[in-house]
């Protein structure tokens, strides 16, 4: 059976004068998948998202959006929606008017779905307020509502969680998860690793215009890389001894013994072994969590490695 892809990019390059923004980028996004795009500033994320939205064409390589090859700017399918560099809103219009104008642009028929879209992103209460007074988080949510109106099959979002408070974040995450469950493919960039980890099943890490990792999040943790884990137990001294005796693991210096927190460093297999040993030793484990998320650790390691080349 053929694999259905919403995005298929091979060897994409894009330059702005002498600056190489994208250098041989490959990207696969499956239907119904939420794909994260992370990378330091200037890595080429926004440029790649712009290409997916059809704002420009790549200088080299091949890009297919929803199964259709992209040959010129704005040639991408009408099933693509989203925003880069923040949502485009007109401050002199209310939230509802912004959406109505956008809806009228695509379909001259009766305006349906506007109230539903506002409700989904939690902006129903401010639907008739002008957007010039909206916070960044509210603007982000309204941008998402605008994208929802078009019933996209590929949604491209640049930093959708920027400026969101916990409630707004919950709304946005809920909407994105529902969209993916309904078969919409999502590509989102973010500097917030917790967002990416919470939402995305696959991730692509970009550094200086190149892909340094692309695949499932679980694969990142399984990569041959040391991880720092925070261990809180009922008996810190015993836990320290057990950790010191565990092969492939070492206790990180500078641990504050008075709090009973132990930080250990090792690969996934050694960490698993530590848990088994602690249980066998009768040490009750209260907390066992990464100090830095696997994604963030991988991001830092990979991007620093790329920058060092």
């Amino acid at each position: 059976m053929e694999r259905i892809l919403a995005v298929r990019a091979r060897g994409i390059t894009k330059c702005f004068g002498d600056v190489v923004a994208l250098d041989g980028v490959d990207l696969d996004v499956a239907q119904g998948q939420i794909h994260g795009l992370v990378g330091p500033n200037g890595a080429g994320k926004t440029t790649l998202l712009g290409l997916l939205l059809g704002l420009a064409v790549a200088d080299g390589g091949r890009l297919e959006i929803l199964g259709t090859p992209v040959r010129r700017a704005l040639d991408a399918s009408g099933g693509v929606a989203g925003f880069v560099d923040g949502p485009g809103l007109y401050p002199s219009l209310t939230a509802r008017q912004n959406l109505a104008a956008l809806a009228a642009l695509r379909d001259p028929g009766p305006r349906t779905g506007i109230d539903d879209a506002l409700e989904q992103v939690g902006l129903a209460d401010v639907a008739d307020d002008r957007t010039h007074g909206f916070s960044l988080g509210m603007r982000q949510r309204l941008g998402l509502a605008a994208a929802l109106l078009t019933r996209p099959r590929l949604l491209v979002l640049d930093e959708p969680s920027n400026g969101l408070d916990p409630t707004g974040k919950r709304h946005v995450h809920g909407v994105l998860a529902r969209l993916a469950a309904d078969g919409t493919s999502l590509v989102l960039s973010s500097h917030r690793m917790d967002d990416v980890e919470a939402l995305c099943s696959e991730v692509t890490i970009l550094a200086t215009g190149r892909v340094v990792f692309s695949g499932p999040l679980s694969k990142l943790a399984a990569e041959n890389r040391d991880l720092d884990y925070r261990v809180v137990t009922a008996d810190p001294e015993s836990a320290r001894r057990v950790a010191a005796d565990t092969a492939g693991l070492r206790v990180v210096d500078g641990v504050r013994d008075d709090t009973g927190v132990l930080v250990v460093r090792g690969q996934v297999a050694a960490l698993d072994d530590l848990v088994v040993r602690l249980v066998h030793a009768g040490v009750a484990i209260r907390e066992f969590a990464p100090v830095v998320s696997p994604l963030e650790a991988a991001f830092l390691a990979l991007t620093e490695q790329e920058a060092g080349r």
Partner: protein
């Protein structure tokens, strides 16, 4: 291998220009600035004309200003003169000069492109939407000023620029036609506004371009330029509409001015279109085409001026256009018409222009200078005849002729004729139409008859 996902859906849903036009119009009309401008254009001229028409002192330095007590139509023409100098360039800056730059300021270009999916359609929609707003504003200026004048003074005949009397319906038609004619240079400034808005992006220079160009054109019209250069500039119609208020009308300069303005509007809009299509909307460093704007924007327009000058000059429009015989003819004609007006005021037996057989002998600089070109040192002696009186009457006028052919004649003769600003009529003192009057010299050579 990638499967194709519903290729029927993959075709972009491209809405017609009408939808994008409506979207742009909604955005423009929702701006407070545009709403205030519309309100100002539809209300302020009426208030201004009504207020000035009721004052004892009239704006006699402005064309038709001295007739604001006599007819409501004069107020609309005073407003037209002001609009051509200040209001219309400013409106073009605020509407056309900002229509593209506003998207840069708001950071909405990418959003708009994704929604509309066609730069061509966006350009067409923005251009049409700004044109609609411009027409609405100009219509407001015209209707409001005319309404203010009619309500405050009344629908009386208008004294033309050569002193002949235009019946009220004729005056109304010509006033309307004059406003329609100035749409051409207004659109030329709008085209420049679009070009500035596209080429200079967020720079304030883009917004100011129509105003700066209009100012430069006005300065140029104040210089003693050859008539071919004068007519080749896109703002000349702001002056040439006065040719509608002479008898016979002077359509030549007006038609040339309109043609030049239309070519400017089309060229500037086409250049803006080309620059817009070349823009890369994914480039975060884009801040206008910079030097390319000079190459693609300024040079073609400069070439257009040069070509127009050559064409107009080849058609025979050379020199300053202000010649002694034209001045003499113009002064004598205006004097004849106004003499009849004064005769009617004084309740004397009517005389015709033919009976008066007025002539003017004009010189410049007391006869020491070549009698051609602009200046405030023109002096004319007008001679006329009355039926049954053997002696000819004479009156002297000092003329200030501006380089665009307009003049103001200041009477210096017998108090009963042109030496005093009032005349004693059977119903009391009234403004003396022969004391000071405005006129204009046709800059183009008269068309050969037959």
């Amino acid at each position: 291998m990638t499967a194709t996902i519903d290729r029927a859906h993959a075709a972009a849903r491209r809405g017609p220009v009408a939808r994008a036009y409506r979207f742009e119009l909604v955005k423009l009309v929702s701006q407070w600035r545009i709403r205030l401008l519309a309100l100002a254009c539809w209300i302020a001229p009426a208030l201004f004309v009504a207020a000035v028409s009721r004052q004892s002192t009239l704006p006699v330095d402005t064309l038709f200003g001295r007739w604001m007590h006599a007819t409501g139509w004069a107020g609309s023409l005073v407003m037209l003169g002001f609009a051509g100098t200040w209001a219309l360039p400013l409106l073009m800056s605020l509407v056309a000069g900002d229509v593209f730059a506003a998207e840069d300021r708001l950071g909405t270009w990418r959003h708009l492109l994704v929604a509309v999916r066609s730069p061509r359609r966006i350009f067409a929609a923005k251009t049409l939407a700004s044109l609609t707003v411009i027409l609405l504003l100009v219509a407001g200026l015209a209707v409001s000023s005319a309404a203010g004048g009619i309500l405050a003074v009344g629908n009386q005949p208008l004294v033309g620029l050569d002193g002949h009397l235009l019946a009220a319906p004729d005056a109304a038609g010509r006033v309307l036609l004059a406003w329609v004619c100035v749409l051409a240079p207004t659109l030329a400034l709008a085209g420049i506004g679009l070009l500035g808005s596209v080429a200079l992006v967020r720079s304030p220079m883009g917004l100011l371009l129509p105003v700066l160009l209009a100012l430069a054109l006005q300065l140029a019209q104040m210089l003693p330029l050859p008539v071919a250069v004068r007519l080749a500039l896109p703002g000349y119609t702001f002056i040439a509409w006065t040719g509608l208020f002479t008898s016979p009308a002077q359509p030549g300069p007006l038609l040339i001015g309109i043609a030049v303005s239309v070519v400017w509007a089309a060229t500037a809009t086409a250049l803006a279109y080309l620059l817009f299509l070349r823009r890369d909307f994914t480039n975060p460093a884009h801040d206008g085409p910079g030097r390319r704007a000079v190459t693609l924007g300024v040079l073609p327009l400069a070439a257009l001026v040069a070509a127009t000058v050559a064409v107009v000059a080849a058609a025979g429009a050379t020199g300053p256009g202000i010649e002694q015989d034209k001045v003499q003819r113009s002064v004598a004609t205006a004097f004849s018409h106004l003499y009849r007006l004064q005769t009617a005021q004084l309740n004397r037996p009517d005389v015709t222009e033919a009976q008066l057989a007025a002539t003017a002998a004009c010189n410049k600089g007391g006869g020491r200078l070549d009698a051609r070109g602009p200046g405030n040192d023109w002096r004319c002696v007008v001679t006329w005849h009355l039926p049954g009186i053997e002696a000819a009457g004479t009156a002297v006028y000092q003329l200030d002729i501006t380089p665009d052919g307009r003049f103001m004649a200041d009477g210096d003769g017998p108090k009963e004729v042109n030496g005093y600003f009032l005349v004693r009529t059977p119903t009391g003192d009234a403004p003396n139409p022969l004391w000071q009057f405005d006129g204009n010299v046709a800059l183009l050579p008269a068309a050969p008859k037959g």
